[in-house]
């Protein structure tokens, strides 16, 4: 590949965003990696050794010697982090599957609606997404509480005698995630389904396929890219979700975002929290990079 030298103007244009992400993204991430190799300390900020540019090279080497993998080791031993991870993955996985079940018929109905109303339908489906995330989660508290509207209505209809305790459980967290992330699933599904050529379905029907067969053998396989994109867009942020488990979940709801938050702010164990953050990052970005590479390779083979 040709690499040409950039002129002064181009360097300035590139330099501004580069400097910004260097200072406020790359340096902070490097710091997190560094803190994860340190020990908790009583002084503020609560970790040791504190990095300082004044120490010179020999000081730096000495500091490197004092780095420790303790935080990573305790990660394997401390069940809290491991459990939080597994629980986050489980909750995100269940939510993603449920969301697929909710969003697919909805997206299909929108994609098959008359072309002139489709932009309106999409607008209506995405509009709640533009309202505050917090407000939407908050609305569910009023619905799910023991003395909330759902329990109130069910008891008034004599469906149940005692209130269902949904609020402050994992079920409430799943409901909250499904509700809050629905547009992320809906849009990729809709665009994959709306792109499909109706002639393919007609051809399948002409060849004798029943409507169910047309769906399973034509519509669903052709929407695979939308399903994949939607699941990815929902699953990854759901794993690291903090607000929903904190507001809708209970004491038994272990999610990694919540654990990280309390370790940083309540326990002030910065090294452990940083190590967990680095591992979480690797776990989430790793598969993404592999998927991207696989996509590139598949593209290369086709052309």
């Amino acid at each position: 590949m040709m690499r040409r030298k950039l002129n002064v103007g181009q360097r300035l244009v590139l330099g501004a965003p580069y400097l910004w992400i260097g200072l406020f993204f790359l340096a902070p991430m490097a710091l997190i990696a560094k803190i994860s190799l340190s020990r908790p300390a009583q002084a503020r900020p609560p970790y040791e050794p504190v990095f300082s540019f004044g120490d010179g090279f020999s000081g730096l080497v000495k500091k490197l010697g004092s780095l420790t993998f303790e935080a990573y080791q305790s990660f394997g031993e401390d069940r809290l982090y491991l459990d939080s991870y597994l629980n986050s993955l489980a909750i995100a996985g269940v939510s993603t599957l449920l969301m697929l079940l909710v969003a697919y018929p909805f997206a299909l109905a929108m994609a098959r609606a008359p072309a002139r109303v489709r932009p309106l339908l999409i607008g209506l489906a995405v509009a709640p997404f533009w309202t505050s995330f917090l407000i939407r989660v908050y609305a569910w508290i009023a619905l799910l509480k023991d003395e909330g509207l759902i329990n109130h209505a069910l008891m008034a209809l004599h469906v149940i005698d005692a209130p269902l305790s949904i609020y402050a459980t994992n079920v409430a967290v799943v409901i909250g995630i499904v509700y809050s992330y629905l547009p992320f699933m809906l849009l990729p599904l809709y665009s994959a389904l709306a792109r499909q050529d109706p002639a393919l379905r007609e051809a399948a029907a002409d060849l004798g396929a029943s409507p169910a067969q047309v769906f399973w053998r034509v519509t669903l396989p052709l929407s695979r890219s939308g399903v994949f994109a939607g699941c990815l867009l929902v699953f990854i942020p759901a794993v690291g979700e903090f607000v929903i488990p904190d507001l809708l979940g209970g004491s038994e709801t272990l999610m990694i975002g919540k654990t990280l938050w309390s370790d940083f702010f309540a326990n002030r164990d910065w090294p452990s929290a940083s190590a967990a953050a680095i591992i979480l990052l690797a776990l989430l970005i790793g598969p993404l990079l592999i998927a991207e590479r696989a996509r590139l390779r598949a593209d290369g083979e086709r052309s």
Binding site: M1, M2, R3, L6, V13, L14, A16, P17, W20, I21, G22, L23, F24, F25, L26, A27, P28, L31, I32, I35, P45, V102, A103, P105, F106, L108, A109, M110, R112, A113, A125, A127, P128, T131, S132, L134, R136, Y138, A139, W140, I141, A142, L143, E147, G148, H152, L182, I236, G240, E241, F242, V243, L247, G257, F264, W270, A277, L281, L284, I285
Partner: protein
Amino acid sequence: MTGTDLARRTAMAAGFTFLYGPILILAGMSFNASKLVTVWGGFSTRWYLALLDDAAMLGAARISLEAAVLSAIIATALGLCAAVALTRFGEFRTRSLFFGALHAPLVMPEVVLGLALLSAFVSFGMERGFVTLVIAHATFTMCFTTVVLVAALRSCDPALEEAAQDLGATALQAFVLVVLPSAAPALVSAFLLAFTLSLDDLVIASFATGPGATTLPMRIYSQVRLGVTPEVNAISTLALACVALALGLAALATKGRSSAATDLA
């Protein structure tokens, strides 16, 4: 055919009920005179009046708006530079590092980014407050503005720029006179996206800001945790009304534009 029609309508009705039900109930509750969610005490605007007296809530709303405007301006400007570099500079050195660092925050959990920014501010010796809040918001919204602007600049034909330069324009003039006008809608949507993300953010703000600069989501969050007050319903409904108004105006504007276009044709 009517069978599938019915199925389609049912799916659509169920979907929209699920999406709008909770929001409408919330809005309804804000006019409830009773403090209890399940008891209807009659129509009242007392929670809205209480809101007007709540200086802390209004102050938080102001800080949120100011931080959102400032950080969105910075994020749009930086995003434009980044997008120009990514689409017009070819293969410069460390391009993949640049690309990766710009896109990583998109997949990163907010708690991790917040944590990283907090430890950076502590290490840099920066006092946490409004300035660090704006910096943090500009950093995470910049990824989104870059994605929007890269897409816009890619779809703008480079031949137009070359033609302008052949006719004697400098590279800068060609960019300002040819590319920028066609990218203007993307600049507006990038700004609005950054503005909305900043206004809505709770997690990164909690890490990045100090005692002097509490944002509205932080305020609402602490209120919800301390116990639900109908005042939060009221401010939520006001926020919803603003969004609905903005969406309605946007719809009217695009409708006006498309009918103007058909008038011309």
